[in-house]
Structure formats: C-alpha cells, structure tokens
C-alpha cells in the first residue's frame, strides 16, 4: 500500500512538472496560433475601417480610413497602407508602415496639401493610433515572442470555450506589465484581453464585439477597447473586408503613398 502511494505521488509529481512545462509550451503555441489568426488572416486584406473614439464625457470623434495589409511572411514582416477619409482635415492623408518582427518598424506619412512625405520616428509602439484608445501595437500586433505566456486554464465566455492565457513581457514594456487573453478555442481569436499596469491594476480592456466569417475566414469585425484608467473607449468597425485579393508589394512605396492605389481605394 505504502509502495503504491509512493508510486502515485511520484507519478503525480512527474505529471505536475511536465504539465507545467507543457503549459508554457502550449501557451506559446496557442498565442502564436491566435496571433496568426488575428493579425495574419489570409495573405493580404483590404477593409474600410470606422473608428469611433468616445471620451469619458461621451463626446464622439470619428475616423474613417481604408487599410491595406500584406503579409510578407506568415508571423513575420508585414506592410500596412492607410488612406484617411475622415475627418475632413486629414482626408487624403496616407500612412504606411513596414512592420518587422525584429527591430523597429518604419513609418511614413504623406500630407497631400503640402506634397510632403515624412518618415516618422517609430520608437514608441505604445503611442496612440490617431488619438484612439488603440496603440499602434494594438492595431498591428505585438509579436508573441516578446512575452512569456502561461496557460491558466479554460473557461466559458459568452457560451464559447476559451483558453485563458497570461502574458508577461520579457523586457520592461510601457504597454502592460501583465496581460490576460481569453482565446476562443475554435477560431483562436481573442474574445477579450485585459491589460494590467505595474501595480497590477486593470487599465485597458479589449473586447471582440462582433465576429463574422468573411471569405471563409473568421474575423473580428467590431472591436472595442475600454480605457479603464482614463475612462472612455474606442470602437472599431471593419466593413467591406476582403482577403487574398493579390495586393502587390510595390503598393507600400513612396510612389503609392503619393498616388493612392485606386484599385482598392475608393471614396
């Protein structure tokens, strides 16, 4: 009997250790899958985006733009092209990002009223995207290898089974000190993300409001970021999404920054 107990204990111990190890590895793998499902859907994508920024007092500001994305490498380098439609004072302004999984991204803006192309120093990926509650990194994705991930378990959220994964930045990061993601087991898309600061206080909360299947790809078509620290929130609606339309690499150059590719960019 004693012997059996010992064996069971030993077995439990081994299982415990290996499952702990497995959870880190699984969590990493799960985050990678989620990242690819969320930020690398298809090989490219074009969509009309409406961003509604709501202040603490309920005042609304609306940005409308067209976003073109091209994945040069699944999970690696990406390029983004943005054409602003509204508000009217930034209409026709274009913006381009060459995103690298290693090192800093490169960003350019073109201001048509002065025919000016300007590279933007892109040191701070955590700065706000066009004044919204989304940071640049929230829009284009923080690479999963920059954080350590732990699988905390499974839960049910809005009737869906989700993985609960905790992520801690490997290097000190302004965006969060800890993030908890609730990832839909089926689509691998994040249904909710909670961002905690140094004092482990919830500061920001991401919610996937609406999920639809577009061109066979499950897509979050309405996203919301609640700014718990400052109050207020931002809602992002993706309309007219199309995937795998054959976006060419040459679009992400100064030539097209000055001359929007009309194939994708209409009013």
């Amino acid at each position: 009997m004693k012997q059996t107990m010992k064996t069971v204990l030993a077995l439990l111990l081994i299982l415990g250790i290996s499952s702990g190890y497995a959870s880190a590895q699984d969590a990493n793998e799960l985050m990678k899958k989620s990242h690819l499902a969320y930020f690398y859907a298809g090989d490219d994508g074009v969509s009309d985006v409406t961003m509604t920024i709501v202040s603490k007092k309920g005042k609304e500001r609306v940005r409308e733009f067209i976003m073109i994305r091209l994945d040069n490498e699944e999970g690696g380098d990406q390029k983004y092209y943005t054409y602003f439609k509204k508000p009217s004072d930034v209409s026709r302004v274009t913006f381009m990002v060459h995103k690298t999984s290693v090192g800093n991204d490169q960003r350019w803006i073109y201001v048509p009223s002065i025919d000016l192309i300007k590279p933007i120093s892109a040191d701070d990926k955590n700065s706000s995207f066009v004044g919204s509650d989304f940071s640049y990194e929230d829009v284009s994705g923080r690479h999963w290898t920059e954080d350590n991930h732990t699988l905390k378990g499974e839960e049910t959220l809005d009737g869906k089974t989700v993985y609960v994964i905790e992520s801690i930045p490997k290097e000190k990061y302004k965006g969060f000190s800890r993030k908890v993601s609730y990832i839909d087991k089926e689509s691998m898309l994040p249904l909710k993300e909670e961002y905690y600061n140094k004092k482990d206080k919830l500061v920001k909360e991401f919610v996937a409001v609406k999920i639809e299947v577009v061109d066979g790809i499950t897509t979050i078509t309405t996203r919301r970021m609640n700014n718990i620290k400052k109050g207020g929130h931002t809602i992002v609606d993706f309309n007219k999404i199309s995937y795998n339309v054959g976006v060419k690499d040459e679009i992400f150059t100064e030539r097209y920054l000055k001359n929007p590719p009309r194939k994708y960019i209409k009013k």
């Binding site: 004072d89 120093s121 001359n259 009013k267």
Partner: protein
C-alpha cells in the same frame, strides 16, 4: 495668370469628368484668422497683422483613366482697401494620370515639395509663401502653388522625377504692407505706412520659354535609407540681385546641384542634405549686384522622447564662394555675413488629451548672424469639425539687415478658428 489657370482647370475638369462613372467629391473648410502686431513702431498700416475669413473648397473626381483635384480659396480680407477685400486663388487644380505602368503624370496648378529638412529648404526651391508663414496661416500655405508638369518614372534603379514649370514662380515675401522688411537703400526697416513706394513687389523674369524652370530628382531606397540627387535650373526664388541700370531688385539666374540621405537611426530619423548654388549671373563673384555662388549643407535628427512628445534639431552651414571679393564690395560700418553662416533650428511638439491638443514650438537661431525667429502655436480640436488655434511669431536680431533681424518689428500673435466640412 489667374485666367490661364482657370481655363486650365476647366479643361481638365471636362476631360476627367466626362467618363460616365467618375464621381465628384467635395469638402473643405471655413476659417477665420485674426492677428495683432506686438511692436507699436512697426511701419505697417494697421495694428492688426491679419484679419481674414477664408473658404476653401476641395473637389476631387476620380475617373477610370485619371484623377482631377482642385483646391480653391475664397478670401475676405478685412485689412484690404474696399475694392480689394474679396479675393480668390486656385491653390491646386491638376490632373493625375498614368502612362503604362511606370510613368506618373501630374499636370496643372500644384504644390511641389521634396528634400529632407524641416522648414529648411536646400534642394526644394519650389515657391514658398513667407507672408503666410509669418502671419500664422496654416502650414499648407508656406508652399505657394506653381503651374507645372510633373513626370515621375519608376524602374528598378529608382524613381526619376522631372518638373517643368513654364513660367517662373517667385517666393512670396513681405511687401511692407502687413509685414515690414529691410531696405538696403534706406538702411533701415521700412513699411508702407512710411511711404507707399516701399511696397515691395519686384518685377519677375519675363514669361518666356527661356525663363521657364526645370527641376529633377533621382531617388532610391538603399536599405533603411532614402537617397536622392537633385537638380534645378532657373532663378533664385528671392530677388537677391540688383539691376545695375534701374537699381531695382531682380531674380538672378541659378543652377542647383544637390543630394540628400534620410533614414532611421539612433531610435529616430536622421537626415543629411547638401547643395551647390551656382549663381549663373555672377560665376566669379565679382559682380557686386549679383549674389555669389554658395554651398549649403545641413544635418538633422528627430525622435520621440516621450509619449506624445517629439523633438528635432537641425544644423545648417552655408558657405559663400569668392568671399574675399564679397567683402571688398561691402559698405564699411554695415553688418555683413560671415563666409560660413550657421543656422540652428529646433522643433518640439507635444500632443495631449487624446491628441486633441497640440502644443508646438519652432525656433530658428543663427549664432553668427545673431538673429532668431520663434514660432509658437497651440491647437485644440474641439471636435472633428471645429479647431481652435492661438499662436505667435517672434523675430529678433542685433542687425536690421539679417534674414530674421529685418523682420524684428513684425512680432505678432494670432487666433484662428476653423470649421471643417
């Protein structure tokens, strides 16, 4: 000139709009700009520096084979004489189209910009409007439009741009009416309040084919860096010469060769640009009425230093050729420039309150010319439509005949309200 551009705009409009499914889009803004002089002894006619209401209408038509865009300003100028209070200007009216897959054309009234500097222009000799710049108009007004043909050719070597402007377009400089300036014949700062004859409006080169402007650029991306070569053939954009017979200011002929490099480095953006100004009317520097050739170079660095806070620094050095003969031509007792003139500039911009508030300062300072120009503005985006701005332009200098020192009586503050639609 206005008539020509007007007819051109109409023609272009007809060409593009005629295809069946081109659609027309319009937007624009209504803006009030009011400014006051800070120096009571400025020899200009009004204590106000600016008082104007502006309606900008933008029209865009995108067809299958090309695009048309126009930006037209209608202006009510509260400081003008009664007959001249209403004015309008075609800021842009151009047609854009492609020929094949490698050639892009832009034809018509347009704003042209290239080069790497932040408000320092070495190879960008397209027309500027310093009157607007000094009075607090929006940044877009620093660039004056030109009627031109721009052709850009792209291939695996790089991007080739060619700009042909059939008639010379000068910089818009202070005239003495709203902004005073230094008059070398009088030896002091003058304005139209002293004498109507001080209205500064020099004759431009005759509108002949030989006086047209030509500019070219070759640009290539090399790794993380954008490298460019420039060429320009035309005239100095400021009337730096004197007609020896009439003793009136003239625009001397000039040819420019330059290069630049810009890219990400040290956690920010670094740029380096240089150019050689070849004064074609005074190749040996011995003509006292014409500017000497010069070499100009600059280096700049910009980076984000905190969330929403960006700062940059630029240093420009300008070396005059044949300096000895220049010195020999100078009037004793008057300040004149050093052989190498330095200019240091810095811009600091802070975005606050979810990027609805922007505070920005820009300073130009020359340690050897002992003058400076400081621009300050705060903009508040009350909503997507309504924007409020207050700002100031401050000039100072130890000598009345330096680049910024001559404007030292023009210090002004302004307020601006914009309704975007």
């Amino acid at each position: 000139m206005k008539n020509i551009t007007y007819i051109l705009a109409l023609l272009v409009l007809l060409v593009v709009v005629s295809p069946t499914h081109a659609e027309l889009y319009t937007d624009g803004y209504l803006q009030g700009l009011f400014g006051g002089q800070l120096e009571s002894d400025n020899p200009t006619k009004s204590d106000q520096s600016v008082s104007e209401t502006r309606l900008q209408l933008r029209m865009e038509s995108i067809g299958d084979n090309g695009e048309f865009f126009s930006r037209v300003d209608f202006l009510y100028d509260g400081l003008a004489d009664e007959d001249n209070q209403y004015d309008w200007e075609i800021r842009e009216a151009y047609l854009k189209f492609k020929l094949g897959s490698k050639l892009d054309f832009k034809v018509g009234r347009q704003i042209l910009t290239w080069g790497t500097g932040d408000l320092i222009f070495i190879n960008d000799v397209f027309a500027k409007d310093y009157r607007s710049f000094f009075l607090g108009r929006d940044d877009q007004y620093l660039k004056a439009p030109q009627t031109a043909l721009r052709m850009e050719y792209y291939n695996s070597i790089g991007a080739f741009s060619f700009v042909f402007a059939p008639s010379f377009e000068s910089n818009r400089l202070p005239t003495g009416e709203r902004l005073s300036y230094y008059n070398p014949f009088i030896g002091s700062i003058v304005g139209t309040a002293m004498d109507e004859n001080f209205y500064f409006n020099p004759d431009e080169p005759a509108k002949t084919f030989g006086n047209s402007e030509f500019a070219a650029r070759f640009q290539k991306q090399v790794g993380m860096y954008s490298v460019a070569l420039y060429f320009y053939k035309g005239f100095y954009k400021n009337p730096l010469g004197l007609d020896a017979n009439t003793m009136m200011p003239v625009y001397p002929r000039m040819e420019l060769h330059g290069a630049s490099i810009r890219g990400a480095k040290f956690g920010g953006i670094v740029w380096l640009e240089g150019g050689y100004y070849n004064s074609k009317d005074d190749p040996d520097g011995d003509n006292p009425f014409m500017p000497n050739s010069s070499v100009s170079g600059m280096v700049g660095f910009e980076r984000q230093i905190a969330t929403g806070l960006t700062a940059n620094l630029q240093w420009q050095a300008d070396k005059m050729m044949e300096y000895d003969s220049f010195v020999a031509q100078q009037t004793p007792g008057l300040h004149y420039r050093e052989e190498v003139k330095h200019l240091i500039t810095s811009r600091v911009t802070k975005m606050m309150v979810d990027e609805t508030v922007m505070v920005s300062g820009f300073v130009f300072y020359s340690p050897d010319e002992e003058d400076l120009y400081f621009r300050f503005s705060t903009t508040y985006n009350y909503s997507d439509e309504i924007r409020l701005t207050v700002g100031a332009n401050v000039f100072d200098g130890n000598y009345a005949n330096t680049e910024f020192g001559q404007f030292s009586l023009n210090d002004n503050i302004y307020t601006k309200m914009t309704y975007n639609f």
